[in-house]
Symmetry: C2
């Protein structure tokens, strides 16, 4: 079963990578880019076939490893 | 207008970050994780309000900066 985990920085947390992208876009001539935030997209292929168990396992993985819950939010989607 | 860009490695491209996550999950006791791939999630806030123009601009940004099209695929979604 395939699971998509999205990890994004919480509001208010500085995002230097996003800022660098924004500046680079401006220097390439893209105008009107007001904000850029960069997050992580993690695709998991797991053996579990029960959707509820798979989701529970993925949430547990987020709490324990994939996301730093002090500064990051995460969402889990079954694909 | 908010745009979500997903950048993922093409099939067949080695993903050492994904492998590291997989090993770390295994060492934490998560069994049955068959594959992990890590990509990037980029949220753009742009001034353009016309959806078609916004999408076209985002695709152009992907080609020119956000994705390395030799090894990465990208998708653009208006949010």
């Amino acid at each position: 079963m395939k699971i998509i985990v999205k990890v994004t920085l919480k509001n208010g947390v500085l995002d230097p990578q996003g800022k660098a992208i924004r500046r680079a876009l401006a220097s390439l001539g893209f105008e009107g880019v007001e904000d850029v935030r960069q997050g992580k997209l993690i695709e998991l292929d797991i053996a579990e076939t029960d959707p509820e168990k798979a989701r529970a396992a993925a949430l547990d993985m987020c709490e324990k490893l994939l996301a730093n819950t002090v500064i990051e939010n995460y969402t889990v989607e079954l694909a």
